[in-house]
């Protein structure tokens, strides 16, 4: 077939699965960014490519980046939606600092994303969209494809519209429907370029469009057209393969943070043998947790879309009072609204899990952009002395483990637990090695049923009060937000009792540290600079530390999953390094805590741009803290 297309390059057929004629270059990893209008389907294109890469066995990491507006005016800069992914034959931790390949669907997408593209990178550009109106919307006075603006890149100009129109000629679709298939055309082209097997993707498209088989067939057609175009046109000098990564043996699936959070909550219900009530009010970027859980009704989860954020957390507290696992989910502004009810759960000592998928604030802020600025809100954001446990997953897949852990701590310690995810974790994806079911540790609710000797605030050695739920004969009792006498739970305004209760509630949270595994440093036992982080910055910090270590520097990385209480050995670990730098997507909230608790001269590496750290940013900042001449032999 290739010969029929007049390919005279003299490249031999390598005998690969697809019988292609161009040489295949093997790469370790590739960073691709798809960019287009929010209506162009870029998130879907990116997700589909990611899924295939994951199933093929690559390590993957993704960073979807989209506007809050559902459909900003077509062609405008505000409406550009991007999806970046890195896929690799090595272990990777981030979606990559900068794309090596950019697929730009229109001038606005080119304008906003071109500055990120590596020089010499591959620019696949949809020339069909470069018309006067779109150029003007993007703020171009001249066509950038013709005025030298893209001279530093390997440009592959293709009129997507022309090709999909030809492919769907006579299919009976409207012009608009035809135009909306362009993303699958791009996907087909990328499949060819990176030597991906199309069969499974074609099945997936048909499945996705099973309710509208005509549209499904059209998308299959344009996908194939994109794939074949790569083969027939001599636009690319070669194709590429990225062999599977050497991941540890096991069963894998591709997962986003929000999906993993939902699965973790369901699993926690099973492990505790208790029903889960997830009460939530729609909010970006947390809504997908609600959507996912709404599909898990047959796993013992009830979802409740409440009238507002306060009702959602209140319903969760009510469910916990009834002996279910009460969970509420939200993002920063909603978290602020929930605080009074969280304080109630502190006072009445009931389990409660608050999932806060953080986004850039204050106020509405930037709903679709990531940030880590709710740490202090979680730890001290309520009236009165009102301690709760605070934990944060580090990667999308880890959301599963930490969601289970949030429920475990809430149920076994009768307290609220704030679980701090963030926008980049929520929508970012990575391969998840599935745990063995039998390895998951059960959660013990330990309901009180014995009436003899019962008192609502009689504590055990961990200072935990009994969970005595309505329906249990002989244990009828009253609880409330008014200060209460220890043991009996009767209303009390006694001054000594109040101080005792405040200190006891704090001590109960502090005692959680007794059960936590020690924190661990990735890197040398002792050294020059310890990078400390928490939450969704893990990938960038890990990659940066690895790079610095490979260069011969004594750099360590300590990533905290437990923010309140801290693990018992954190202070000792900080003391092992000459310098401590706390890297956070905020103005230094964890840094303040560490300084306060350990009197350590911690420096801050802070970024507040709604974006994750780039590996390069971390590496450069840490280098400045290294002693002069360190690792010079590596640089030489």
């Amino acid at each position: 077939m290739a010969d029929q297309n007049g390919n005279a390059d003299g490249h031999s057929d390598d005998g690969g699965a697809s019988g292609r004629t161009r040489p295949i270059k093997q790469l370790d990893s590739v960073v691709i960014r798809f960019a287009g209008d929010s209506g162009d389907g870029m998130q879907l294109t990116g997700t589909e490519f990611t899924r295939t890469a994951a199933l093929y066995g690559n390590d993957i990491a993704t960073f979807p980046d989209f506007p809050a507006e559902i459909r900003a005016p077509a062609g405008s800069l505000a409406g550009v939606s991007g999806f970046q992914l890195q896929f690799s034959s090595n272990e990777i931790f981030t979606a990559g600092d900068a794309p090596e390949v950019l697929v730009a669907m229109n001038p606005a997408a080119l304008r906003t994303n071109l500055p990120d593209l590596e020089r010499g990178g591959l620019l696949i550009v949809n020339t069909g969209a470069f018309k006067a109106k779109n150029l003007e919307l993007a703020g171009y006075t001249a066509n950038p494809l013709e005025d030298g603006s893209v001279a530093a890149f390997r440009v592959v100009p293709i009129d997507f519209g022309k090709h999909v129109t030809a492919a769907l000629h006579g299919a009976g679709l409207s012009t608009k429907e035809v135009s909306r298939t362009q993303n699958f055309f791009a996907l087909g082209l990328l499949f060819w370029l990176y030597d991906r097997e199309p069969a499974r993707e074609l099945d997936s498209i048909r499945k996705k469009f099973s309710k509208n088989p005509e549209l499904g067939a059209a998308n299959v057609k344009v996908f194939e057209a994109g794939y074949n175009l790569g083969e027939t046109l001599e636009l690319f000098e070669s194709t590429y393969s990225v062999p599977p990564a050497k991941l540890g043996a096991g069963h894998y699936r591709n997962i986003t943070g929000n999906e993993a959070t939902a699965l973790g909550l369901v699993a926690a219900g099973k492990l505790a043998n208790l029903p889960v009530l997830y009460a939530s009010y729609p909010i970006t970027p947390a809504s997908d947790v609600l959507h996912n859980l709404a599909g898990y009704a047959r796993y013992g989860v009830t979802t409740f879309q409440a009238e507002d954020e306060i009702a959602a957390v209140s319903a969760a507290v009510g469910a916990s009072f009834g002996g279910a696992i009460g969970v509420t989910g939200t993002s920063g502004p909603g978290f602020a609204l929930k605080q009074e009810a969280i304080g109630l759960a502190v006072a009445v000592e009931l389990p409660l899990v608050i999932v806060n998928v953080q986004r850039a604030g204050p106020s509405t802020g930037m709903p679709t952009k990531t940030e880590q600025a709710d740490l202090l809100q979680a730890i001290v954001g309520r009236n009165g002395e009102s301690p709760i446990a605070v934990i944060a997953p580090a990667t999308p897949a880890e959301c599963f483990d930490l969601a289970i852990q949030a429920v475990r701590l809430a149920v076994e310690h009768m307290c609220p637990v704030a679980y701090l995810s963030d926008g980049s974790l929520a929508n970012g994806a990575e391969p998840w090695r599935l745990p063995a079911i039998e390895a998951l540790e059960p959660i013990n609710p330990g309901f009180r049923t014995e009436a003899e000797g019962f008192a609502p605030f009689l504590r055990d050695e961990r200072l935990v009060r009994p969970w005595a739920i309505p329906g249990t004969p002989g244990l009828e009792h009253r609880i409330g937000g008014i200060e209460k006498e220890d043991v009996t739970g009767n209303i009390s305004y006694d001054p000594e009792n109040h101080e005792h209760m405040v200190r006891t509630r704090q001590a109960k949270i502090d005692k959680i540290a007794d059960r936590l595994p020690p924190a661990q440093i990735d890197g040398p036992e002792r050294g020059d600079v310890l990078i400390v982080g928490w939450g969704g910055t893990y990938g960038s910090l890990r990659q940066a530390a690895l790079q610095l270590q490979r260069e011969g520097n004594a750099v360590g990385h300590l990533h905290l999953r437990y923010l309140n209480p801290l693990q018992g050995n954190v202070g000792e670990l900080l003391a092992r390094y000459r310098r401590v730098v706390v890297a956070e997507l905020n103005r230094g909230q964890l840094r303040s805590i560490l300084r306060d608790k350990f009197l350590v001269d911690a420096r801050g590496l802070n970024k507040i741009q709604g974006k994750p750290f780039k590996v390069r940013e971390v590496v450069e900042a840490v280098r400045k803290l290294l002693p002069a001449g360190a690792a010079r032999e590596m640089h030489a």
Binding site: A267, P470, G481
Partner: protein, 345 residues
């Protein structure tokens, strides 16, 4: 009392009023209407045939919200305005419980207004008792969302200018399935209303006019005074005409041309239509007109304005969950994690 002490009787013991009293000193002001309401509740509870461990009182903040501390059932004194939301979560988790929400005019209609209307529209099976004394008591006497226009308080020295809520209109506007009113001192009637709420399936809403002797004393006096009350109370009875007055000489009639009620004389032909009360009317229109009857033009209706049967929120939610299980079986952890696109290394 021995049975209460052992607490594990298989033979259900006949409960008494005493079984519902706690050892906590009741701390409402002397003469507060709340005492009467508490007493009627403790009287009615043993008659309901519900084991007391299955009864829960949930309250918000305010004088009335201290109620749970005085009922020897499960109780939760929560935060301002949120009792309906907390009770909703409890009901979803434990649909078999009998859950009573105790709230006041500030708690339910001001800070908690949103939760109240959404609870009513969902028709979740909660019994909501709204103690309406038309004033903020616990915060010492500010005007409330049910205070009359012109009411002078510390926060409205020149008189309040906002129109009060007509509580029952609000409830009917939210399509509540059970809407009723009682007066704290009409104890027999109040007991009857509480019993009616207990058997209603869905959200049952009872407004109780309750006297605050400290900050709004006497606001309901004309409904309570033996000499005047028959002229000012209209007791609604199913299937009966809307007749009131010392000698049953007055009645509320319908002016069909203008779709409004008015007060006329019994058996006097004045072009209006006699109305027979039908609480079960699926159309809330007439109930809405009754809810708008306020003094001085009208007598104050008490009794059940509306009692209709609609599916409850919890039944429908749980039915969906059951349907999901019936269709594909109860999900296991193995199935949950190991489904979808997987690959093996």
């Amino acid at each position: 009392m021995s049975a209460a002490q052992n607490g594990h009787e298989h033979e259900p013991r006949k409960l008494t009023k005493k079984d519902f009293e706690t050892d906590q000193a009741v701390r409402w002001c002397p003469g507060c209407g709340d005492y009467a309401i508490l007493a009627q509740m403790q009287k009615v509870m043993p008659e309901l045939g519900i084991p007391k461990e299955k009864i829960v009182f949930v309250s918000g903040i305010g004088c009335s919200s201290r109620f749970p501390y005085y009922m020897d059932t499960y109780g939760f004194h929560t935060i301002h305005g949120r009792a309906p939301a907390i009770a909703t979560g409890l009901k979803l988790a434990r649909p078999e419980l009998s859950i009573w929400v105790v709230t006041g005019d500030g708690d339910a209609l001001s800070i908690g207004g949103n939760h109240l209307i959404h609870t009513l529209r969902r028709n979740i099976d909660l019994k909501i008792l709204l103690f309406n004394n038309k004033v903020y008591g616990l915060t010492k006497g500010q005007y409330s969302p049910t205070s009359e226009i012109g009411m002078k308080t510390k926060s409205s020295p020149a008189g309040s200018v906002a129109r009060p809520f007509r509580t029952l209109s609000l409830a009917l506007g939210a399509e509540a399935t059970f809407v009723a009113r009682a007066v704290d001192t009409e104890v027999q009637h109040l007991q009857e209303m509480i019993s009616r709420m207990a058997v209603h399936k869905g959200t049952a809403f009872l407004e109780i006019y309750q006297n605050c002797p400290v900050f709004n004393d006497g606001v309901f006096d004309e409904l309570k005074d033996r000499k005047t009350k028959s002229d000012h109370l209209l007791e609604l009875e199913q299937g009966k005409p809307l007749v009131f007055g010392k000698n049953a000489e007055s009645c509320v009639k319908l002016d069909t041309a203008r779709m409004r009620l008015y007060v006329g004389k019994v058996a006097e032909s004045d072009g209006g239509v006699d109305v027979v009360h039908d609480e079960a009317n699926p159309d809330p229109g007439l109930a809405m007109l009754l809810a708008r009857c306020t003094p001085p033009e009208f007598p104050t209706p008490i009794g059940v304005l509306r009692a209709v049967s609609e599916p409850t929120f919890e039944d429908q939610t749980l039915a969906q969950n059951q349907a999901a299980i019936a269709a594909r079986g109860e999900g296991s952890l193995q199935e949950l994690l190991y489904s979808g696109d997987r690959w093996d290394v």
